[in-house]
Structures are given as structure tokens and as C-alpha cells.
Amino acid sequence: MLEEVKEKVSSKFGFQCEEYDTNILLVHCTKERLRELVSYLKELGFNYPHTVSVVDYTPKGNGFQVNYVLENLEEKNLVMVRVELPENDLSVPTVSDIFPPLQPHEREAWEMFGIDFIGNPRLEVMLLPQWAKGLFPLRKSYDFKKHRKPTKEKK
């Protein structure tokens, strides 16, 4: 089944696909055609979204990586769509209108990493307190010591 998806995606979009794991296909996508690819995958039966997972590779100079994980509940397999973002342009079109469950996941990725999901209706602080807005604590550049409250002994 995943072989078919691989052929279809690479012939229609020309994206590089590789086997990520048994049952998981990895598609390297560009952000311009992300929405097109995701709606095509939804037509193919990948209708259950899992999550949006962001990895920060800035210490290596590779920018950020945004992974969308989608599952096909009928055929029992998964596809991971990967978009690479350079450090100076952290914006990616939203897929929250195609997959409504991904809206809060994008919101979380925005508040933790500062990636701008263009078109997401609700990029507000969710898990963090209001004062921590814009600190992006899951970035590798976040300095724990800088934001630590002074303890009583040390002052």
C-alpha cells in the first residue's frame, strides 16, 4: 500500500520519498506545495492526523524542521510530511482548515518554537503563562539560567 502512495506522490509532485520505518513513509515536501500535498494525502485516505512535530536544528545551521504525521485508519499505515525551514524565514502555510484537529498542535508549535503558521485562526498563548509569550522555550537557543527565578539562599 505505501509503495503505491510513494509512486503516486513522487509522480504527481516529484518529491523525494523514503521509507521511514515499517508502515511509515517519509515525504520531503516544500512549503509552497504543502497544502496541495496534504489535501491529496487526505483524498488517499490519510484522514487521521496525529501531530505537528518541530525539530530545531539551528545549532547545526540547518534551520527548523516541521513534521506532520498523518494516519490511514483503514489501511493501518502512516505518512510523515517534512518541511525544512531556513532560520530567517519561519513561516509555513496552515493546514488547520484541511485537518481541524491540527489547529491546536500548530498553536502549540507556534508558542514553543515561534513558527508562524500563516492562516491559522488562533495563534495565542495556550500552555505557557501570558508573560512567557515570545520566549519560545523549546528552541535550542533558550537559556534556562537566564529565566530562572532567584532562590532564597542565593538571592
Partner: protein, 389 residues
């Protein structure tokens, strides 16, 4: 609601319908009222729901979360591969074995470590023990939100027996830290197996026959929950429900069957599904999964192989990444683990089922009565620890 009262043997007559819209109601002129359901509500736990009501009818619900945020995903980056389980298991204290198993499988996949068969079986026993413990609390609190707190105490008696077994195994009752990359941390002794059998015996021979009538065939409970918060099969997939809530809508999605891990591929069990998709169906799925889990534990104890229970896990793990799903008590828990060749994880993303259920909830709670809010909330079976992480 009216029809469910009739099915329970009561007759219910609506005398007259009053038209109040448009009349001068003084202070009540303000039609929409915003209520805070939580943080101090007995059923809410550490979170708040902003509920907009029109009279008694809920118009809109907006969750306000983040009260128990610990930023576990960041803390894991400062740990070694083995130490990270301490943060991973604290995603939720009720079923900590599921999360540890998922993280360990992901780490083993990257490192290319094969786990001994005995470790797989012990993981299965522990995971199912954790599931039973978590489900018992879920059942108890579902009855609890309706104002009856005694069934919770009965459920806790059964839970204690399992906690005794975990204590014999690892020395801890709740945060056991007992499953690590490379196997399990302690040898499954005869005493542990004995205690586990005692616990399963109590569940199957005492708890279920004695209390099934109260928990399942309870007319008061049925009036409150049958037909409340109904979700169809298509809708459940569209709004992204997970775990027992998804299975109660007729979608047979269970990671244990679909992508077998640990020893689940070799054991015989069935996936519980219901077609109704209401609060009562979600509750019944949890109840029937108790019996399935007890069966799995018995099979795993019977088939427990001889040999090692742990292999060596390397200190430095080569570059790579893995995405692993496990069927946790509350649904499918995903781990996206990345290694950059260091002594600890580079990045761990945890996909929490309760987070998915929470954000599907506003869609389910449209146009229900205010009194149904806690019922739907409890039936979605969420844990605040893994919403916030």
C-alpha cells in the same frame, strides 16, 4: 433526554413551553453568560473551561489549559537516554508504563538494540496492569461527576491490589521508573507474579461480578449519560478523537492490534468497539477493556519465557530518529524521538491522546445542557498531566 427517561421506566410529560425571548427580563436581559467551569470544580481537575450559556444551554466552550505544564519535552533534552524515563513517565502518573514503553521502543529502534523476549512479556504485563489501574480511576470518576462518590472507593480497592504488585516489582507504587531502554529494570520475581495473579483474581472474581450491576446496569447513570454527547463515526475521525472515545464511535483503532509492539502480537485479545458513540458507550468501552486487559495479563503470565530481562543499552546512541506509537490507557501515544549521536535525546515530541480529545470537546459540547458538561468531560477520559506535559 426525554426518550431516555421513558426507556428507564418513567413517564415524562412536558406541560407547556414558555416563550421568554423578547420579553423584558431585567437583569436577565444579558442573553449569553460566561461561566468558569473549573479550576475549583470538583470534576474539572487543574484546568478551566470557559462556558458560554444561553439559559441552560451551552453555546460555546473554550478550554484554558497549562496549569500543570512542566515542559517535559525540554527537560528530556538535559537527561541521558536511561534517565529520561523519569520525565517521560510523569506525563501521567496513572498509567506510567505505557509512556515508558513507547519511549524505550523508540530509543531501541534508533540504537538498533534487540530486547529479550522476557522483557517484552514483562512490559506487556505491566502495561496492562497500568491500563487497569487507569481505567478503574476513569470509571470511578465518571460516576463521581454525577455526585456519587462511593463507586470510586470500590474501584480504588481493586486498584490497591495492582499497586501492591507494582511495589513488589519496583519498590514504588506509582512512579515506578521500571521500564528502561534495553528491557525492564528489575527481575520479575515469583512474588511479583503471585501478587499480580492475586490482583487479577480480585478484579475478575470479586470486583466485576460484585459491582457490574452498579457500574453498568445503573438506571440513574443511564438517564444522565445515554444519548449525551453523541459523536458519529465520520465525525469522530474528523474532529480527531483518540483511544476509547474513538472506539466508542465504531472506529476499530487500537495500536496493540494495528502495529503490534512488545508481546501483543502473540497474545489473543479483541478490540472493544461500540456503535452508539455517546457518553455511555465511551464509559462501556472502558469497562469492557478492563476484562480484556485481565485476560491479556493471564496469557502473558502463562507464556512468560525464561532468560534475561535486560540487555546493555549503549551510552552514546548513533544519529537517527524514530516515530513510535503505543496504545496507552487513554489512547494512541506517539513519540517522535531524535538522536544527534549524544548521550541523551536531542528532541522528543510527545503526541498526547488527551490533548486531541480535549480540543475535540468544544465540538461535542455544542447545544448540550450545562449539567451535561461534566458528564461529557469525564466520558472523554482525559488526564491533565498529558494535556499539558
Amino acid at each position: 433526554m426525554g426518550s431516555s427517561i421513558a426507556t428507564a421506566g418513567y413517564t415524562f410529560v412536558v406541560e407547556e413551553t414558555k416563550e421568554v425571548v423578547g420579553e423584558d427580563l431585567g437583569l436577565l436581559q444579558e442573553k449569553l453568560l460566561q461561566l468558569n467551569w473549573g479550576v475549583q470544580h470538583p470534576a474539572s481537575g487543574p484546568m478551566r473551561l470557559k462556558v458560554w450559556v444561553d439559559g441552560d444551554e451551552v453555546v460555546k466552550v473554550d478550554p484554558d489549559i497549562g496549569y500543570v505544564l512542566r515542559l517535559l519535552e525540554k527537560l528530556v533534552e538535559y537527561r541521558t537516554w536511561i534517565n529520561a524515563i523519569v520525565n517521560v513517565e510523569r506525563a501521567c502518573f496513572m498509567d506510567d508504563f505505557g509512556t515508558m514503553t513507547g519511549y524505550s521502543i523508540a530509543a531501541e529502534k534508533i540504537a538498533g538494540v534487540e530486547v529479550p523476549k522476557k522483557a517484552d512479556y514483562v512490559r506487556t504485563i505491566l502495561c496492562e496492569g497500568g491500563r487497569i489501574v487507569s481505567h478503574l480511576i476513569g470509571l470511578g470518576s465518571f460516576v463521581g461527576v454525577m455526585g456519587v462518590h462511593t463507586p470510586m472507593q470500590w474501584a480504588l480497592i481493586a486498584r490497591e491490589k495492582f499497586l501492591d504488585a507494582f511495589e513488589t516489582f519496583s519498590g514504588q507504587r506509582i512512579a515506578t521508573s521500571s521500564i528502561v531502554p534495553g528491557g525492564v529494570r528489575y527481575e520479575p520475581t515469583g512474588k511479583f507474579i503471585e501478587k499480580m495473579v492475586v490482583a487479577v483474581d480480585y478484579l475478575e472474581k470479586e470486583f466485576i461480578p460484585r459491582y457490574e450491576e452498579v457500574f453498568v446496569d445503573n438506571p440513574t447513570l443511564k438517564i444522565r449519560s445515554v444519548g449525551v454527547g453523541k459523536v458519529s463515526k465520520e465525525k469522530a475521525i474528523e474532529i480527531g478523537l483518540a483511544g476509547p472515545a474513538l472506539r466508542a464511535s465504531g472506529v476499530a483503532s487500537d495500536i496493540r492490534k494495528d502495529y503490534p509492539y512488545a508481546a501483543y502480537g502473540e497474545l489473543d485479545f479483541k478490540v472493544i468497539t461500540k456503535e452508539e458513540g455517546d457518553s455511555y458507550a465511551r464509559y462501556l468501552v472502558i469497562w469492557e477493556e478492563l476484562k480484556e486487559s485481565a485476560k491479556i495479563i493471564r496469557q502473558a503470565i502463562e507464556g512468560l519465557p525464561e532468560g534475561d530481562y535486560r540487555t546493555k543499552f549503549p551510552i552514546k546512541v548513533p544519529q537517527g530518529e524514530a516515530y513510535v506509537n503505543v496504545e496507552w490507557a487513554r489512547g494512541c501515544f506517539g513519540f517522535h524521538l531524535v538522536s544527534e549521536g549524544g548521550t541523551g535525546p536531542y528532541r522528543l515530541k510527545m503526541r498526547a491522546p488527551s490533548f486531541a480529545n480535549l480540543w475535540a470537546m468544544p465540538e461535542i459540547m455544542k447545544n448540550v445542557k450545562l449539567a451535561d458538561v461534566p458528564v461529557i468531560f469525564a466520558s472523554l477520559y482525559m488526564c491533565h498531566g498529558d494535556i499539558d506535559r
